[in-house]
Symmetry: C2
Subunit: 298 residues, 2 copies
């Protein structure tokens, strides 16, 4: 990378900006509540100025990469999905130029599409997968809508989305279980996790295992504080089992997570007998935009 890089992870509800040095280190970063849903039509140059205008002025030679929902239909410009399999160079080549308030250019990165089984898309996560630098392996990116991606020969060949985090929230906050669930205390988290992982392996599937939490609590066999950890571990273990069924052995697995997601996925992966490397989302993003910047067409 010949120059510093200014990169934004610009999502629906917030934007995170990074100034990345020539050696790949983060020189500056900040987060702004300026997700694309808060930006009016035509307001993206001004929004960029508010988020990172000072970084641009201080680094007039820096390339600027904008990743995530900023490239969606409701973003700055719609950067069409690149169909898998896709290499970093192919992703970079599909970036679209936009013009900042000062007349200089930035590149809006595209998302990826995959048409194996069900049609699926991602926008933003592909940059994190690229940042893992895999030749062959699997990336797991937990979240509201978790993504799993398979990399073969340095190209992202397939991926799949799972509504895991969202279904957790629906069951925990809006289902019949929400009235039984309490804040975990004492051994609740460990007990709930152990039970949820065990329940995921039973033949009744999610619809049966979710309801079982109610019966177990009403019968005094499980504490209300274990309900949340039970549901979380049940869903994560089912996501992992489904990914294994879709992608095979899950060799060279990289988990892109931090905080509680790193813990819960790490525990469920270990219970499934799967080794993994843990990478933080920030490290994966920074490495990903650095790689894509190096691959940008001249």
């Amino acid at each position: 990378m010949p120059n510093p890089l200014i990169a934004l992870d610009w999502g629906t509800t917030r934007a995170r900006a990074f100034l990345i040095g020539e050696d790949g280190t983060v020189l500056d970063k900040r987060t702004a509540d300026r997700g694309i849903q808060s930006v009016p039509a035509g307001g993206f140059p001004a929004a960029f100025e508010a988020i990172a205008g000072d970084l641009r002025r201080a680094n007039p030679e820096a390339a600027i990469l904008l990743a995530g929902m900023v490239g969606s239909r409701n973003g700055w410009i719609e950067a069409p999905y690149v169909a898998c399999p896709a290499s970093p160079a192919e992703i970079a080549a599909a970036g679209l130029r936009v013009t900042l308030d000062d007349g200089t250019a930035a590149t809006v990165l595209p998302g990826l599409s995959c048409d194996e089984g069900a049609f699926d898309v991602m926008r933003g996560e592909e940059t994190l997968v690229v940042g893992l630098g895999l030749s062959d392996g699997i990336a797991c990116l937990p979240g509201t809508h978790s993504k799993w991606a398979k990399v073969e020969g340095g190209r992202i060949t397939r991926f799949a989305s799972f509504m895991t985090g969202e279904v957790y929230g629906l069951l925990r906050e809006h289902s019949i279980l929400s009235r039984l669930a309490e804040e975990p205390a004492g051994e609740d988290a460990a007990e709930g996790a152990r039970r949820g992982i065990a329940a995921a392996a039973r033949p009744g599937g999610l619809l049966n295992a979710a309801f079982a939490a109610r019966s177990e609590v009403l019968a005094g066999r499980m504490s209300g504080g274990a309900v949340g950890p039970y549901l979380s571990s049940l869903l994560v273990a089912q996501e992992i089992a489904a990914a294994r069924a879709m992608f095979g052995g899950l060799e060279n697995l990289h988990l892109v997570a931090d905080g509680v997601l790193a813990q819960s996925y790490g525990r469920a992966l270990a219970a499934a007998g799967l080794d993994h490397q843990l990478v933080t989302p920030e490290a994966a993003f920074v490495a990903g935009v650095a790689r894509l910047a190096a691959d940008l067409p001249a």
Copy 2:
């Protein structure tokens, strides 16, 4: 059955009362908005009087059976669960006597519990299963919390609950899919059902297949009107597959349903290559209370 029978299917939000003749035919019936959640403590004799007092006065010799949540902790009296395996006679014997305003007696029927895999309970559905008169077979009772029960040698040996209807409502009304879903029109219902059943057979499971609806609609590959039927069929097909994994071949399968549930479960069972007999919930309830009344201890 030596005398007429007054039977109430008395649930959380409503009560349905039947006057059943000696030959098992329904002589009178009515529905009241007097579910147990609307009855104050101590108010059950008065609630019965309001629902069915006239039936009692006109049939002073009738036995009175009260089934469903009326036997729960928040009902008239808590009738403890009978553990499976349970015969009709064992269920009837566990009924508890309560006294009406006029000093005559009624019997509150118990629910069932099952401790295979996860602990599970039912209250009310056991009466419908009894009403099928099975010696050996499987009962499927669709609903907010569907139940499947296995009958062997005339006893209910195992059952399991599935949060199918409730998860449908959460996904259809409260998830990211709710914004994409529209009222079905034209071929939407058939297309959604076909796709949902196909999606249930893919390896990604519910969490992947639910999210796929979003990607397919956003890509213009599925209509918004197909989202609801897709989700419904996906969930029903997964419930059926899970029941098959839990209970085996599903020989002599009886579906206790009417209306749209009879249609959607019937279609998904046929797609799974499973024959079934269709029985309405009312017919199953009436036959069930008649059988249990005959088995009441003298």
